[in-house]
């Protein structure tokens, strides 16, 4: 699955023949076996797979949070593989945004301060127009002075989304963003993510095991046993579920 030169320019994130091996000897676990994938600019991609399929590992490697054993990862025109701590820090600061399952807001800061935290860490001023757009999109204008503890789960996750968006990263990685939310709050967050892709051209890569959530994406990549096994374009919850069922059966036999 190597990419052409023309498409390379459009890829926001790319993995080439990525292997990830944990431990050694008897305890060796191969999490990724030669995964190659591209995540196009301005698209919302979901990574799916059963537990232990390596989907989180793939995302951690793509985001430069974890090192790969073999192969290369790049984000935009930056090759992530081989970067030192300073390079990785700069990468996270300028090109990558994160949304976590546990929201991960700083309890001591207000919503607004949380949203602006990445910019203030990088020592940058927010673009006021973009900031307003983000705030209006997430619909939190009247909650900006609240502390995370004073917000509902959905609101907290929207703050986290705004935090990821506000610095206009090359790509946002979302790790089970709806995992801790009820279906309504989850739908709000997913709608919001899809809109930021459609309206603002943001690139988002989301790891999930929820077919309904995956259905919001433009494309779904299926992982099983450390390899990409399938792919869906313009998925619906049904097609995702069907693909999952097909994957589950052999995995259980193999496992």
């Amino acid at each position: 699955m190597t990419a052409t030169v023309g498409r390379q320019a459009q890829a926001a994130a790319r993995a080439s023949d990525v292997w990830k091996v944990y431990g050694s000897g008897e305890a060796q676990v191969i999490a990724l076996r030669g995964v190659s994938a591209e995540f196009e600019r301005g698209r919302f991609t979901a990574i799916m797979g059963p537990s232990g399929s390596g989907k989180s590992t793939l995302m951690h490697c793509l985001a430069g949070l974890d090192t790969v054993t073999r192969g290369t990862v790049s984000i935009g025109d930056t090759t992530v593989t081989g970067l030192g701590d300073a390079g990785l820090t700069k990468l996270r600061r300028d090109k990558v945004g994160f949304i976590f399952q546990q929201f991960n807001l700083l309890p001591t800061l207000s919503a607004k301060e949380n949203i602006l935290l990445p910019l203030s860490i990088a020592g940058r001023k927010p673009d006021p127009a973009w900031y307003d757009t983000v705030i209006d999109t997430v619909g939190l204008r009247d909650r900006l002075d609240h502390r995370p503890a004073q917000l509902s789960g959905g609101q907290q996750q929207r703050v986290a989304c705004a935090r990821a968006l506000v610095s206009r990263p090359e790509v946002i990685f979302a790790d089970e963003p709806t995992g801790n939310l009820d279906s309504r709050a989850g739908a709000e967050v997913l709608n919001f993510l899809r809109n930021s892709v459609r309206e603002h051209g943001q690139t988002i890569v989301m790891v999930t095991h929820d077919p309904t959530a995956a259905a919001y994406a433009d494309r779904v990549v299926f992982l099983a046993d450390g390899q990409i096994v399938s792919e869906l374009i313009e998925p619906t919850a049904e097609t995702v579920l069907d693909t999952m069922k097909k994957l589950d059966a052999p995995t259980e036999v193999n496992g």
Partner: protein
Amino acid sequence: MLRATLKSLLARKLRLVLSGLAVVLGVMFVSGAFVLTDTLGRTFDAIFADAYEGIDVNVAAKPKIALSEMEGEQTPPPFPAATVEKVRAVPGVAEATGVIAADGARLIGSNGKAVASFGPPQLGENWTGESDLIRLREGRGPNADGEIVINKGLATAGKVAVGDRVGVLTPLGPKQEFTIVGIFGYSGGRDSIGGANEIMFTTPVAQRLMLGEAGTVNSVSVKAADGVSAESLRDAVATAVGDAYEVKTGKQLSDEAAAGFKEALSFFNRILLGFAAVALLVGTFLILNTFSIIVAQRTRELALMRAIGAGRRQIVSSVVLEAVAVGLIASVLGLAAGIGIGALLAWAFGNLAGGLTLAGLGVPASAVISAFAVGIVITVVAALLPALRASRIPPIAAMQDVATPDRPLTKITVAGGLVTAVGAVLLFLGLGGNAGDNTLVTILGGVLFAFIGVALLTPLISRPVVNLLGTIFAWSVPGKLGRLNSGRNPRRTAITAAALMVGIALVTGVTVILDSAKSSISGLAQDSIKAELVISGVQSGPRPPTFDPAVLEKVAAIPGVRLVDGEYGDMAVVGGERTWVAASSEVGALRQIFGATPTAGDIDRLAPDEMLVSSDVAKNRGLSVGSTVPVQLARGDARTYTVSGIYTASQLTNPVVLPPQAARDFAIPQPIQGFIQLAPGTRVADVQPQVEALLADSPEVSVADRDAFIEQQASQLDGLLTMIQILLALAIVIAVLGIVNTLALSVLERTRELGLLRAIGLRRAQTMRMITVEAVVISVFGALLGVVVGAGLGAAVVEALKDEGITDLILPWSQMGVFLGLAAIVGVVAAVLPAIRAARINVLGAIAHD
């Protein structure tokens, strides 16, 4: 980023209070020491400025022996009163007064005891009339030999009034009775100057009793005529009186006197700073621990920061910034507390020294600068390690519940071993006397390294020892849980315990050294002093208690008394070197009472121009029997003595023994101690009351049997020990705060787990017991370490002092046991608040706790 740091700090202010408190206490000590010495320094400046007020120029004879402030009050030697006339004739002199003033005039108060001084001089002077400084409050000046005036402060202390007949002890004669005819005070309504007691006689009496020579004075106070400067008059007078005199302006005198006191104060300051250093060392452990725990708790938050783009340096600086903020606040509070403590100590000191009028409280720049420097630097240094650890948190930790893996202890153990070894080597060098001038620094450095090294080794030791200690409590489920909890994080347990170790190790070490010294001295005295009765007193000021030498002859006449010896002592210049010299009224006592044996010549008798020296002195100075040595005593001219005997040096013998006649020229020409040997078969109880009766006129001393005397001598070390223990108790208090802190943070950290335990049925009381067991295990572990390390250090010092005569090694087992018991109590006390907090945890809330 800055805002995030500050907000995080504010959110954790409670957690930082306890660790901040350790810095506050340390800083308090440091700034308190500076405030105290500054206040007392200016107090003494004022006192001496007052004492020399109205003196433009002062003339005194050059002293025979230069003494420092630490060695006692300097009494200028007498010179002929004719010099006063010579000074008066100098142009520009308005007034010249011959003054007699010498230390050692002691009033016997209405209770029959000599009024004691705890430092200030007890001056015997001649009455020269009222002046700008001195005003009679009652009565009149002395006109006859039997009359005296005293200052109001002395009258109050001795509870005497005008018209009373009182006894006065003087350096040169037996007790004499006088009538108080007047009581005077000083300008500004003061009752004394700097707590000094003053007794003023008529000039002839003062000459006889204080100087020992009629027709002499020991200084001339000069007032300049209008328009003549003190400096030019000083030079004129100096030319007129010649080289044998020291002529100084009043300003010079007061500056010199104050400088002497300040030297003593700076010594005191250094002691206080030493204890501050101990407190801060312990505080460092505490802060290190607090920040480690806080960083551990904030792992997810810090990882998040890293994930959204914070660099390592930013993480380090955010933690360091927190430390700076804590240090800053602690320094401010510590400085305030230090000013309070300094004021309190100055006040206590003023009262103890007999009602010093304190100068206004001073906060010198040194106090402020040192407070902030020490507070901030210590906090930042202690927080640096946790900060570096924080920067190594991987960003991925934000997404996973990364259980911090139990890092292997190899590195820290190797480091601990190395640091301990460096400490041991330094101690060995320092104690072995191989470090030359840097001995003290080397020893202190060795102790510091040893502490840090042991602290680093502690995690390794903690596992087996904590398990063992914990087994004692493992009979119940909460006890078992508590034991497991205390072994859960060996580093944290170790640092908490190490903080307690420092204080307890120092107390134990000092106790070992002092107890060994005490036992060695007692043992030596038991074996070597062959006297059944001893006359001595308890020294309260710089001047030792003395008694009338006439008593010695009377004691000798008591039936059953075989030998009586009165011991005199003074600093003298022997062959150009300052040396402590003694004179015995009974030369034979050297052999018969103190057990010295001759190595050359005859040590049983001395002609007036002969001297005995110890074998050490003989060796060091190349003296042998027949050598001649010039000796300058405090009074009179230098004389040449011939060495007539050399004796074996021991702990009880003096380096140089002069004939009894020489004692007349000692600064204190009265015996300080008396030793009485009884004939075989004589009962001590028969003789003791008779000696006691003879001492009625020497109220400063009493007669005791040998055991009581030895006990009394040895017990002088007890006061020192108590003082050191009280000061070191502060370090232990800080360590206790550390235990409270660690537990409180652990409880917070384990909220979810505690909730779970409660949910599955652990009762409140059981929860509390669990926390208490953890605390007790940690504190007993710390005390155990402290006792072992302290005993080791103490034993090393004692071993090194073997040559100095500390031959016994006494390990204070009972006291060490008490420390362990106290540690258990400390653990229980430290656990109270965290345990209550743990017990109050809301079960549902705790399980949902993130």
